[in-house]
């Protein structure tokens, strides 16, 4: 494998020029996974046979003169998205042996575009977490410092891409689960507008917030993935029936005159000073590229956390009721039906149980108005905050997370501190726009820092272009483990 090839776009171009085959690229990735993923632990399942078959098919198609957007490009998929014929566990014991009979829509789109699926990446159980520590199987390690978490819940996808174990990956972002691990792992990771990508075949955590998101080494890699997976799907009633722009073509690097808002509420108390400094420096750099920086306010930012946990947990409680062992997945047989269901559900991990309990409580008679009902109303306030902000600015710039990657085990016994990690990402999920995290330097420990760029509904091209323009001014750095160093 050519060590110089580290981005998806570079690989795609090399494949197009015939410099290497998809089988060679795929085999190199699989070899790398064997070599270093026992350290990183980003994959729950490596679909090596399937991948090599897909790669061979891609090479055959290319030989016949075909070309599709991702023909022959090896990518990884979070284990919350169904892949037909492969295990789909959602990081849970309760689905440990579930083999999906269908593909998620986004997976279908990847396959149609010619991508090679390397495997399923680790996730917090049912995407409930910010570190992969709630995965029922193991914790993924951050390639920049293997003592630290990669973030979550799409931590497996982020670690895989950062460690050069895939050229790009899909995650899901319900409260920040793509942007936060992208930030921790030094990647570009996007949460598209709700409805931009079909949720068909994506195991539901919180249906009104869940959205599939792409992750890549660069804005262009991310744009290439987004172009493939975005688009209308009649099987998802919340899917948006609007045309998909060419996100790659939108990366002009020209952001002159763009109005960039900086909400002071996102620079919260307790934010890491190095993070704040890096983000402010990045915003200055964006200004130097010709954008206009405007101080703005998202006054209800601090209510995002409680609103999110009430709404997400309420929806999760209903979404997870189907895992009763009757029709699929694990069944722990008990003395009667009720006993069987209770024993089966005992397979859920503590974080999942916590949220089911919280959600059921928030919806229960006598408490609905006080909790869930109130959260719905407050969510409208946050939406209105963003709507108003986008009347005066095109893009919002802020930190993705208050800190860089934390140590494994550091926060597991303190759910509240863990939740605070998502404070800056989840307001967007409660609103209607799109957002991404893009690398903006490192702290003194050498850990990546993420700049969050938020756009209004369907403004993916705009925020990708800002990330791209900024990226051109920054040196690229790879973790010690990065591509080519080990293989």
């Amino acid at each position: 494998m050519e060590p110089t090839i580290s981005t998806l776009i570079e690989l795609r171009d090399a494949l197009r020029r015939g410099e290497l085959t998809s089988v060679a690229a795929t085999q190199a990735m699989l070899d790398r996974i064997v070599a270093i993923d026992n350290t990183i632990r980003s994959y729950l399942t490596v679909t090596d046979e399937m991948a090599l078959e897909m790669a061979a098919t891609a090479d055959r198609r290319r030989a016949e003169g075909e070309d599709t957007p991702l023909l022959g490009v090896p990518v990884a998929v979070k284990d919350l998205l169904c892949l037909a014929g492969a295990p789909t566990t959602a990081g849970s014991k309760i689905l440990e042996n579930f083999i999906s009979p269908y593909n998620a829509h986004a997976v279908d789109r990847l396959i149609e575009a010619g991508a090679v699926i390397l495997g399923k990446t680790n996730t917090d159980e049912f995407a409930m977490g910010s570190s992969t520590e709630s995965s029922a199987f193991f914790t993924t390690r951050n390639p920049w410092d293997t003592e630290r978490v990669p973030g979550g819940s799409s931590g497996g996808s982020a670690a895989a891409v950062a460690a050069g174990l895939a050229y790009g990956a899909l995650g899901t972002d319900t409260g920040g689960s793509v942007r936060q691990p992208a930030s921790f792992c030094g990647l570009v990771g996007m949460r598209p507008t709700y409805g931009r990508i079909s949720r068909w075949g994506v195991i539901a955590y919180a249906s009104s917030l869940d959205q599939v998101g792409p992750m890549g080494q660069t804005a262009a890699d991310t744009a290439a993935l987004l172009s493939v997976i975005a688009g209308y799907d009649p099987r998802d009633s919340t899917s948006l029936d609007t045309p998909v722009p060419d996100y790659e073509a939108a990366l002009t690097g020209d952001i002159r005159g763009l109005r960039v808002g900086v909400p002071h509420e996102f620079f919260i108390e307790g934010i890491d000073t190095e993070v704040e400094a890096a983000v402010r420096a990045a915003i200055e750099q964006i200004a130097r590229l010709g954008a206009e920086i405007i101080e703005i306010s998202i006054p209800h930012t601090r209510y995002g956390l409680p609103i999110y946990y009430l709404i997400a947990s309420a929806e999760a409680g209903a979404n997870l009721a189907r895992y009763d062992g009757t029709r699929f997945g694990e069944r722990v047989t008990g003395s009667d039906v009720i006993d069987t269901v209770e024993r089966t559900r005992a397979l859920f991990g503590p974080e999942v149980k916590r949220r089911i309990m919280l959600g059921s409580y928030a919806l229960s008679a006598g408490y609905y108005d006080q909790y869930y009902g109130r959260a719905l109303k407050a969510r409208e306030l946050i939406r209105e905050n963003f709507r108003q902000a986008f009347e005066t600015v095109d893009v919002i710039a802020a930190p993705t997370c208050p800190t860089t990657a934390f140590k494994i085990g550091e926060r597991v016994d303190d759910p509240l501190t863990m939740y605070l990690n998502d404070m800056l990402t989840l307001p967007l999920n409660l609103s209607t726009g799109c957002g991404l995290s893009t690398p903006c330097g490192f702290d003194s420990k050498g850990l990546p820092i993420g700049l969050q760029l938020i756009g209004g509904p369907l403004q993916e091209a705009t925020i990708l272009n800002v990330a791209h323009a900024y990226e051109q001014t920054q040196p690229r750095r790879k973790p010690e483990l990065a591509l080519g160093d080990i293989a």
């Binding site: 789909t88 689905l95 579930f98 009979p101 099987r235 009633s237 009763d324 029709r327 059921s360």
Partner: protein, 485 residues
């Protein structure tokens, strides 16, 4: 004993909608009794991970028709909610239903009681939801069949306006009739396609507050509904009279023992934790959609009955029998519309109710498979009207029409059934009969004028029933009078 107490009854009716496919997926709707278990299922209606519902517009069309037929205010903003509860036949662990924003609100239905009075029953709401699977309990475990899971279901909830088993039955029968008229439900209670559950309570006459209610289940016939309701009213009255109290519970109806029995206590109200289903955006039913449903709405049975009575002069009984089934009523309407110079609606009604129904019974035919068209019956009666054949012959011809599907004129012609109205031919037959029967002639002339019928009979025998009776009567009377001279 119900002098002391006033019954307060409301009905919840669940009707499966006869759409081709289920409410939220493409699975076909199969007969839940006949079909092999779990053969009409897919990942969506099995509630598998990552699967999403998509509303079946046809089911909404059907629900809209029912809401309009029941005089409901149609709600433009329809929201689907998740009703959370656990049962092994509920695939997702929640049922998609409508809660705060159902398709129809505040409707009503007029029912006719046995003494002829009309009573208006309020319809509180009509809402769409999905059916559950079905459990079968065996000695060594339970089996679940998800064929029914996700079938579109309509729930029709009445106001507590019903006061007796008879009213409950009249209301439920009307609902079923309307559902069948709208072709949205077969009305088959045995198969559970239509499920009727009364909520029954009593209160001292004059009291405002409602008594404790009991929900009655397993009613698989209208008789069971009426009897079960009455039994329950009596049971509650006896309970109160003896100083006891009614407990809130679900009771079943035991058809063989003809009594209700306790199934499940409802003392602790179940908390369904309803919330808007985030998988389904609000379904907006605009004016144009409502208007197209209004246009598709057929004339309903009550309107037909009234028209038959008021315009055609039919009796209540005739009107209700003809209007009972939409296909019969439409057959009758088509005959009336095509009658031209032929028979009156009253005559057509008589022929349908007596002769056609008898023949259909004998031959095991339904109105949908009838070889006789409304136009053919009108043509047949036209032949009677014109005097080509008489009523008796017409009955014979109709029978033949039922068997062969041929039109009446060709049957009359090929079998030589045309009526003899030719006076010369009839006069010669009459002359022969009078000459050959001096006795009866003498008696007739002696004052036994009712013997005229006997002479008519002789002419009919002679002509094999083909003589025009009006002409024969006239000729006979004149001829016999002439004997007097």
């Amino acid at each position: 004993m119900l002098q002391k107490y006033e019954p307060v009854i409301g009905l919840e009716i669940h009707a499966e909608l006869m759409t081709q496919s289920k409410m939220f997926c493409g699975c076909r709707v199969v007969d839940s009794v006949e079909a092999e278990p779990n053969t009409a299922v897919c990942p969506v209606c099995l509630g598998m991970p990552g699967m999403l519902p998509v509303v079946n517009r046809r089911a909404v069309d059907f629900a809209l028709l029912v809401a309009l037929a029941l005089n409901c205010e149609v709600q433009s903003n329809n929201i689907f909610a998740r009703k959370n509860y656990f049962y092994p036949d509920l695939a997702k662990g929640y049922q998609i239903s409508q809660y705060e924003f159902p398709i129809g609100l505040r409707g009503y239905l007029d029912i006719t009681l046995s003494d002829g009075t009309i009573k208006r029953i309020g319809i509180r709401r009509v809402h769409m939801e999905e059916d559950t699977g079905k459990l079968t309990h065996l000695s060594d475990g339970s089996l679940v069949d998800f064929n029914r899971s996700g079938v579109a279901l309509l729930e029709i909830v009445s106001d507590p306006d019903i006061r007796s088993g008879e009213e409950a039955r009249a209301y439920a029968m009307r609902i079923r009739q309307i559902l069948r008229y709208l072709r949205v439900n077969t009305g088959d209670m045995e198969k559970g396609v239509l499920r009727i559950e009364p909520n029954i309570s009593i209160r001292p006459r004059g009291a405002e507050a409602f008594g404790t209610r009991v929900e009655l289940k397993n009613l698989n016939s209208f008789r069971a509904l009426a009897d079960g309701t009455d039994f329950e009213l009596d049971r509650q009255a006896a309970l109160l009279d003896s100083g006891g109290r009614v407990i809130q519970e679900t009771r079943g109806w035991h058809d063989a023992r003809r009594e209700t029995f306790s199934q499940r206590s409802k003392e602790e109200a179940e908390d369904y934790r309803y919330f808007t289903d985030p998988d389904l955006p609000p379904l907006y039913i605009d004016e144009a959609w409502i208007e197209s449903a209004r246009i598709a709405l057929p004339e309903l049975p009550q309107a037909k009955e009234a028209r038959y009575r008021d315009e055609f002069g039919l009796s209540d009984y005739e009107a209700s029998v003809l209007a009972e089934d939409r296909a019969v009523a439409e057959w009758f309407d088509a005959a009336v519309a095509g009658k031209g110079a032929g028979a009156s609606p009253k005559t057509l009604a008589n022929w349908i109710l007596n002769d056609l129904f008898r023949l259909m019974n004998e031959r095991g035919r339904s109105i949908d498979t009838l070889p006789v068209t409304p136009a053919a019956l009108v043509a047949l009666l036209g032949q009677v009207e014109q005097g080509t054949i008489n009523q008796t012959t017409a009955r014979e011809v109709l029978a033949e029409m039922m068997d062969s599907g041929r039109d009446p004129s060709s049957i009359i012609e090929s079998r030589g059934l045309a009526q003899i109205s030719d006076e010369a031919a009839l006069t010669s037959i009459i002359d022969t009969i009078i000459a050959g029967n001096p006795g009866p002639v003498a008696n007739y002339l002696g004052g036994k004028e009712n013997l005229l019928g006997w002479f008519v009979g002789q002419v009919m025998r002679e002509t094999k029933g083909r003589a025009n009776p009006a002409v024969v009567n006239e000729l006979l009377r004149t001829r016999l009078e002439r004997e007097r001279m």
